[in-house]
């Protein structure tokens, strides 16, 4: 895989989380939402779960490909 230089996200189904400052997070490559509350958003990725915790979090938009979360992000955890 390394030698072929193929993008990892499409081959392994890895999720991409892009965090801009403390306020915005873009998430790509996920299966769906497991939990959503202003304090914690848990997303089901293809290989693992991603939980983003913080305060006053909202989902700005939500499509099949990507989503945008805004609010005060405190912690991003994979498990």
């Amino acid at each position: 895989m390394e030698s072929l230089k193929l993008p990892k996200d499409s081959m392994l189904g890895a999720s991409i989380v892009t965090v801009t400052g403390r306020e915005d997070a873009f998430v790509e490559n996920y299966r769906g939402i497991l939990e959503y509350s202003p304090e914690c958003i848990v997303l089901q990725g293809k290989t693992c779960q991603i939980s983003i915790s913080g305060k006053r979090m909202t989902i700005d938009y939500y499509t099949n490909e990507d989503m945008k979360i805004s609010g005060c992000i405190e912690c991003i955890r994979y498990h």
């Binding site: 769906g32 959503y36 909202t58 700005d60 938009y61 939500y62 499509t63 099949n64």
Partner: protein, 441 residues
């Protein structure tokens, strides 16, 4: 931009509650239903969805066991039927649109710039004569024809440009400054022969176009104090008294035979600098008393709206003052920069005054008269007149103040008058080289 597109397409804000709202969202994204502004409001979730997406929610709702309720409808598709229901409003909107469009097909203001010697009133009268007036239809204005007519009717105008800006007709003109000055110069020369430009005068003499030349005659009575002849035969000498109309320098120069008889005449335009000394009398009068405006300090500002040539003042009854001065500040209503409307507004200030009869004191009379005298003298000096002596008296006469001015002045005189041909006296005289009197150079 995105919001604008969403507004055009229309969307609904919904609330979702029930067994598993997260699954509802996942299914929506799987079905390519776009969701945004998702908020967790404790017991329910609120979110926005497009109209087409909303119609696809039915199956998902059933599958997930959630409930959906519309909170708000937004966007153009919902707005249009709402507006359609308000018929009078719609009618008014369209009506006003039509009205404004109709209004914009007229000329509501005419601006003229660049006119110095042609007054605005004269210009407006001229425009009226050619059916260009405030309130005419815009398409009736023939710009090119108008420009041509301006140039034709006003010789002084060298360049003109007319254009329509919105509902305003803007006319720019340029006047010929050189021509103006030349006219003025000629006017002075003709005034009393005391012109400054000799060259100009000489040329004027030639322009008389008389094949028999021209004589220089006195313009006024007086005594000659100086005489320098350039062309012609002097008929008088320094010190001589002349009357108005007397020939000073003759344009017909005799050519003599050897026996001192005249053989023939040569004709020239007589040209000379002749200065005469003469007395000038002038009387100025002033009444004993005069009316003086005394402002009482009372003033009132009032506003008005003018429409179709009528002014409507915002006041109760009539103006209370018996005598008053009125200063009006008038503006035209316009939309944006160039959409002028036939409505004016403004304010005017009325200042009350009382007329009082005053009698001139001796000091005042003296001051007024001396001002007049100074102006008169400076006018004369501007014309190149020298003042040798002046005698001014002020006296009370026939219930009037009177100033008598007696001035002794020296001024240039002389006017070219065409000569009647002198009969060729010594036609039969001997030929040969006679002594010729050349014109005095």
């Amino acid at each position: 931009m995105l919001q604008f597109i969403q507004f055009l397409k229309g969307y609904v804000c919904i609330r979702v509650w029930g067994y598993s709202p997260e699954r509802f969202m996942n299914l929506c994204s799987n079905h390519d239903i776009f969701l945004w502004d998702i908020k967790n409001c404790g017991e329910y979730y609120s979110m926005c969805v497009t109209i087409s997406g909303f119609y696809m929610l039915k199956g998902i709702v059933k599958k997930t066991g959630t409930k959906v309720a519309i909170q708000k409808r937004c966007g153009l598709p919902f707005l249009v039927p709402k507006i359609m229901r308000r018929k009078i409003f719609l009618f008014g909107l369209i009506g006003s649109l039509v009205f404004w469009m109709w209004m914009s097909t007229f000329i509501w203001a005419v601006d003229v710039t660049g006119n110095y010697s042609i007054s605005e009133d004269v210009f407006m009268d001229f425009l009226k004569q050619y059916d260009v007036y405030v309130g005419m239809r815009r398409r009736d204005v023939n710009i090119e024809e108008l420009e041509k007519r301006i140039r034709q009717d006003f010789n002084i105008v060298t360049w003109t440009s007319a254009k329509i800006e919105g509902t305003r007709l803007v006319i720019q003109i340029k006047e010929n400054e050189v021509d103006l000055e030349a006219d003025k110069g000629n006017g002075e020369n003709e005034g009393n022969g005391a012109g400054k430009e000799d060259a100009g005068k000489r040329q004027a003499g030639k322009e008389t176009g008389n094949e028999f030349g021209s004589d220089l005659v006195a313009g006024e009575d007086g005594q000659i104090v100086s005489m320098v002849t350039r062309a012609g035969v002097p008929q008088t000498a320094v010190g001589a008294e002349v009357k108005k109309g007397d020939v000073l320098v003759a344009g017909s120069v005799p050519v003599y035979n050897e026996d001192a008889t005249i053989r023939k005449y040569q004709y020239y335009d007589a040209d000379a600098d002749v200065f005469i000394s003469r007395s000038l009398q002038r009387t100025e009068e002033l009444p004993l008393s005069y009316e003086k405006k005394e402002y009482t300090g009372e003033e009132k500002k009032e506003f008005f709206i003018a429409f179709m040539g009528k002014e409507f003042y915002l006041r109760m009854g009539k103006v209370k003052y018996e005598n008053y001065d009125k200063v009006t500040d008038r503006k035209q209503v316009k939309l944006l920069d160039n959409f002028y409307l036939p409505v004016y507004y403004g304010s005017s200030l009325n200042r009350e005054y009382v007329l009082t009869d005053n009698i001139y004191t001796k000091e005042e009379v003296k001051n007024i008269f001396s001002e007049k005298l100074i102006k008169f003298i400076s006018d004369l000096e501007e014309k190149g007149v020298q003042i040798m002596k002046k005698n001014v008296t002020i006296e009370k006469k026939d219930k009037k103040w009177q100033m008598n001015m007696e001035l002794q002045i020296v001024e240039q005189t002389g006017k070219n008058v065409p000569v009647a041909p002198v009969p060729q006296a010594a036609e039969e005289g001997q030929s040969g080289d006679g002594t010729e009197t050349a014109p005095v150079q």
